[in-house]
């Protein structure tokens, strides 16, 4: 079933951290509790007297709400109270909008006010003594709707006859921006061929973490503070959204998370539901608990951005040298802008993909439709753009009868070009893409491709190979938000850690992050143990996040491939401070200079005389419990906090130019598919994933991320789709119809890696985890390759369920009409 080969590292930088725990696959600290069912996930938390929240959801994709009558629900035995949109509009202000006008004008509350804009949108909430009763009562809430026409196709959103979702905005075009770098006219003048692609489509899906959203909210009337026990993965963002809306300072919002059952970006935008819970906890004077069920999640939470690429033109030389492209990206944000329109700039972190073309124009238009709101999903906005650039490569190669492998190699940014500044001022830090491609091809058995093709043909199958190459840009410069809205006062990034030495010698690490399976407790402990010269078992990393601990910063959370840089950067900084203090303290006790002290084997000892040593326990005890007589000027607390701040400048808003992210991990995947030409059914028969995320702190953890992202990509490429009918009903609201990969769907996988240390980070690490989009591109490319002899259809959609492959097989011409090659 599975065979995994890890190739030898091709580039290994010797670093200081490589000697100890770092670089090794040490066992995970998280596993003991998780394996015994003793993790604490949000729905596991209970409080005395808590009430259960159930949301009343709009059945209509678009409807005026004429009235909401909760009287029957309130009479139902066991019901504790309700909340309506009208109440919410009185008690809160609309959420802050990231967008410049017209998107800025949206009035978004925690419940629908006056109008429902997607099927499944919460309209009211009911609280009762049991979960079942809350649902019973929710059915008794009488909502009078006046159904309105819905618009579910972004391409129709700007038609005169299409309904406008938000009257305040006056249009469904909520944000647009023109990005242009280089000299397009010159590029097209120089081109031998211009390949025109009329339309490509990145489908709507998300990573469907197995645990849905939830919260338990308590309100302390004495202090006016809410404690929000939740699985939101970006509390820093939730706080910024919620505080102003609830008209309170951020100290009134205490966020607590422990174990989170997967996030993948989909747990960033639960702030509307959290606000509803806060209002209910205050109104009902008791803790309230909300658990989102699977159907609720599919209907209403965090769909990945759906994007159309219209009227693409690619300038290319006869030999396949790519000169540039222009296109219009039409992004479908769904009904609300809950994290959008940041997707309108995030893609620009990877503007040229992995290629050296310098002349690029992209007109970005984002529209709202009567579908669930979009928010980040693994590979957020870059995945869509990289799928597009990879599709260009394969289409150009096929149309020009060139080898897609050669076209990639000819155009890849070269190892010797690193660090490479892209046309829009981003700096790719390191990497060797061509080398990765060679490794991937070797792993997938490229040499035997033609033999295998013939063998498949003899069995009545069409075999194809496809490559997907991507970047996983990590550690955002939030200054890029100014390209969306110059008024915004965000830039840079930060993360926090505290490391302390406690009274009995315990090392306690507190992170600002909110991991959802990324093993932060383990990797942080590896780094700390190495730096303090102690056993990893002596390092206690607190599970989860609690904004009470003072270990959080404005951008705290776990998102956007950054822990290995920001999280570990903070851990490293705090540990360095602590190590310095420990040495200073030891030097005072031992009567020497701090420079004479080393930390090793759980002791602070004199380098020259290791017998003169203080165990960590002694250091902890002296400062915390036995400190009389210490010099007055000894500035040692053994409790160190460090904020890591990556070296960013705000980008140039006028030119839309600047470094938008710090690190660029890379992935090259290769897939082999076999298609049954009679049905369009296909199978991925071989798969290779090569990853380069710089120095790996824990190779097993890194490989786990690569595997998981790959599986998600395979799901997205094959069956996972949030498809709506024209009335705005979601047709895939559960795991019956939304088919995620099962164990039997998995192809054999071989993995390989490179380690190109990042010159921009202290340990050479790069953020990683989101590069799996490569799998979508690889499967699309493999399908197009497999179908070449069957009328040479163009794979134009990111999701290719059997029916779409059948359509390509039975009518290749329709897809071919999307492409036109002009010779110059």
């Amino acid at each position: 079933m599975t065979e995994t080969t890890v190739t030898e590292p091709l580039v290994v930088e010797e670093t200081e951290t490589r000697r100890g725990y770092a670089g090794r696959s040490v066992p995970r600290k998280e596993d003991q509790r998780l394996l015994q069912g003793e993790g604490v996930f949000v729905d596991d938390v209970k409080r005395h007297n808590m009430g259960f929240v159930h949301f009343v959801r709009s059945p209509y994709a678009h409807a005026k709400i004429r009235s909401v009558d909760v009287s029957k629900a309130l009479e139902h035995p066991g019901v504790l109270g309700t909340l309506t949109g009208e109440e919410a509009a009185l008690l809160t202000d609309p959420f802050f909008q990231i967008s410049s006008p017209p998107g800025a004008h949206l009035r978004d509350f925690c419940l629908a006010v006056g109008k429902a804009r997607f099927a499944g949108e919460p309209v009211a909430a009911v609280v009762a003594t049991t979960r079942e009763t809350a649902r019973d009562a929710a059915e008794l809430v009488e909502v009078e709707y006046e159904p309105l026409a819905a618009v579910t196709d972004a391409r129709r959103a700007l038609d005169d006859e299409s309904p406008v979702l938000h009257d305040e905005a006056g249009t469904n075009l909520t944000w647009e921006g023109v990005y242009e770098w280089g000299d397009l006219d010159a590029a097209f003048a120089e081109a031998d061929r211009v390949v025109k692609i009329s339309e490509l489509h990145v489908d709507r899906f998300n990573s469907t973490p197995l645990e849905c959203n939830g919260a338990l909210v308590e309100y302390n009337r004495g202090t006016g503070q809410w404690t929000i026990i939740t699985n939101n993965q970006f509390p820093g963002f939730a706080a910024i959204m919620m505080g102003p809306a609830m008209r309170v300072g951020l100290d009134k919002l205490r966020f607590v998370t422990q174990d989170i059952g997967g996030g993948f970006g989909n747990k960033i935008t639960s702030h509307p539901q959290l606000v509803a819970c806060c209002l209910l906890a205050r109104k009902l004077k008791r803790p309230v608990q909300w658990t989102e069920w699977r159907t609720d999640f599919h209907l209403s939470m965090s769909h990945g951005n759906e994007r159309w690429f219209e009227d693409t033109e690619v300038a290319v030389k006869e030999d396949g040298t790519l000169l540039g492209f222009r296109t219009t990206a039409l992004d479908d944000a769904g009904a609300w802008l809950r994290y959008e329109p940041l997707g309108g700039v995030i893609w620009a972190q990877v503007t040229p993909g992995m290629y050296r073309w310098r002349n690029i124009r992209l007109d970005f238009k984002q529209v709202v439709t009567n579908k669930a709101p979009c928010s980040p999903n693994r590979g957020y906005s870059r995945m869509q753009h990289l799928w597009f650039t990879e599709r260009i490569i394969d289409i150009v190669a096929h149309e020009l009868e060139l080898d897609p492998v050669e076209v990639r190699k000819r155009n890849y940014i070269r190892a010797e070009d690193m660090p490479y500044e892209t046309p829009n001022g981003c700096v790719y830090d390191s990497g060797d893409y061509a080398q990765m491609l060679d490794t991937a091809l070797e792993l997938v058995g490229y040499d035997e491709l033609e033999t295998r093709r013939a063998d498949a043909e003899a069995r009545g199958r069409l075999l194809g190979l496809g490559i997907g190459s991507t970047l996983d840009s990590g550690t955002n410069n939030f200054g890029q938000s100014r390209l969306i809205n110059p008024e915004l006062q965000f830039s840079g990034n930060n993360e926090v850690a505290t490391v302390k030495l406690d009274i009995f010698g315990e090392i306690v690490v507190t992170l600002g992050t909110t991991p959802q399976g990324q093993s932060h407790e383990t990797t942080a402990a590896q780094v700390v143990a190495d730096m303090l010269g102690c056993s990893i078992d002596d390092v206690n990393v607190r599970a989860g996040h609690d904004s009470y601990w003072n270990s959080h910063a404005g951008f705290s959370g776990t998102y956007a491939s950054q822990f290995a840089v920001t999280g570990l950067g903070a851990v490293r900084g705090a540990t360095e401070l602590l190590a310095g203090e420990m040495k200073k303290l030891a030097s005072v006790v031992l009567g020497c200079s701090p420079d004479d002290i080393e930390l090793a084997e759980g002791q602070a000892r004199m380098k020259a005389n290791p017998e003169a040593a203080l165990p960590f326990m002694a250091l902890g005890a002296i400062i915390n419990a036995n400190n009389a007589g210490l010099p007055e000027d000894l500035d040692v607390t053994l409790n160190c906090r460090y904020v890591y701040r990556p070296p960013f400048q705000p980008p140039d808003v006028e030119r839309k130019f600047g470094n938008l992210t710090l690190t660029y991990a890379a992935q090259v995947h290769a897939a082999i598919v076999e298609v049954d030409p009679e049905t369009g059914v296909y199978e991925i028969v071989d798969y290779a994933a090569v990853d380069d995320c710089g120095v790996r702190i824990n190779p097993q953890v890194v490989e786990g991320q690569v595997m998981g992202a790959t599986a998600q990509a395979i799901g997205a490429a094959t069956h996972e789709t949030f498809t709506y009918d024209e009335d705005g009903n979601l047709l895939t609201p559960n795991f019956y119809d939304y088919h995620v990969p099962h164990a039997l769907d998995m192809p054999p996988l071989r993995t390989g890696y490179l380690e190109s240390a990042s010159p921009f980070t202290s340990m050479g690490t790069k953020g990683m985890g989101e590069g799996g989009g490569a799998g979508i591109h690889a499967v699309c490319a493999a399908l197009q390759d497999a179908l070449r002899e069957s009328g040479n259809p163009i794979v134009y959609d990111s999701c290719n369920p059997y029916h779409r492959v059948w359509e390509l097989l039975s009518d290749p011409e329709s897809s071919r009409q999307r492409v036109n090659v002009e010779s110059r």
Binding site: E132, W293, T679, H719, L731, P741, H742, L744, W806
Partner: protein, 268 residues
């Protein structure tokens, strides 16, 4: 999750079960619950009373008669059927049951529940139709036997009327059977499926193309004849997110031919 309020009773005999069903018009039989409980979670259907058939011994068991007829108690789980030596008399039964959902569902789900749910994507309605099974239905009056081809009346509707229960599934002897499907992924819901049996003339029953299995009887087992017969059957399959009506019509031809081919190989 979170069902509506529902009455529950677990009778110990068939008579008791029929009595409760007759008493409560809103009562529904609860077999393995692997469909019904999910429908109740969605609150798409809310029976007033669930009559749990799990405690009735006479609804269980697999017997192979002297003439080769296989008699299945409707409360036989898929796993029991797969493991049954008797059931191997008609190998296709175990093979198809092994394709249903997953281990957990096969451990709990029952053959009777599968046919009585009559979901158009289920495996057993077309299979039993193709095999020429007879289903015994008991009510307050006499038992009656209904051929599978007349048993399925619609989506979620069968010849088992109010106050009645399916008590036995009888399958005639034979080996020349086949089954083919196109599921979503390797093991998801069927997009189209087909069962074929060549025991006395070729009979194909197609699933997922209408409310009930569609029977097609081709003149020969040649692929072209089979496909032609399916084409001529005037299928009106539904369109949904997984397949258009046209694609389903096409797949119906392909899976029918494949099921017949498998059956032919076993007839040889």
């Amino acid at each position: 999750m979170l069902l509506s309020e529902v009455g529950y009773v677990r009778p110990e005999t068939l008579e008791q079960a029929l009595e409760v069903l007759a008493e409560h018009l809103g009562a529904r039989a609860l077999a393995g619950g692997q469909t019904l409980i999910n429908v109740m979670k969605a609150r798409a259907a809310s029976p007033e009373v669930l009559v749990d058939l799990g405690g009735i011994p006479e609804l269980k068991g697999i017997e192979l008669g002297a003439d080769g007829t296989l008699e299945l108690g409707p409360m036989t789980t898929y796993s029991e059927l797969i493991a049954s030596a008797e059931a191997r008399a008609r190998p296709i039964l175990g093979e198809v049951c092994a394709q249903i959902a997953d281990v957990q569902v096969r451990n709990r789900g029952t053959v009777g529940g599968n046919v009585c749910a009559s979901d158009p994507t289920n495996h057993l309605p077309p299979l039993l139709t193709a095999l020429g099974a007879e289903l015994t239905v008991a009510g307050s009056g006499a038992e009656r036997s209904v051929p599978a081809s007349e048993f399925f009346l619609g989506v979620y509707m069968t010849a088992v009327g109010p106050g009645e229960l399916l008590t036995k599934i009888s399958i005639p002897p034979g080996r020349a059977d086949g089954f083919a499907s196109v599921p979503i992924g390797v093991d998801g819901t069927c997009i189209v499926n087909a069962a074929a049996s060549l025991n006395g003339g070729a009979r194909i029953a197609l699933g997922c193309v209408g409310a009930v299995p569609v029977v097609v009887e081709p003149e020969s087992t040649e692929a072209d004849a089979v496909r032609g017969a399916v084409r001529d059957a005037g299928l009106e399959p539904p369109s949904d997110v997984h397949a258009s009506a046209d694609y389903r019509r096409h797949l119906a031809e392909v899976v029918a031919a494949r099921a017949v081919q498998q059956a032919s190989e076993r007839a040889a």
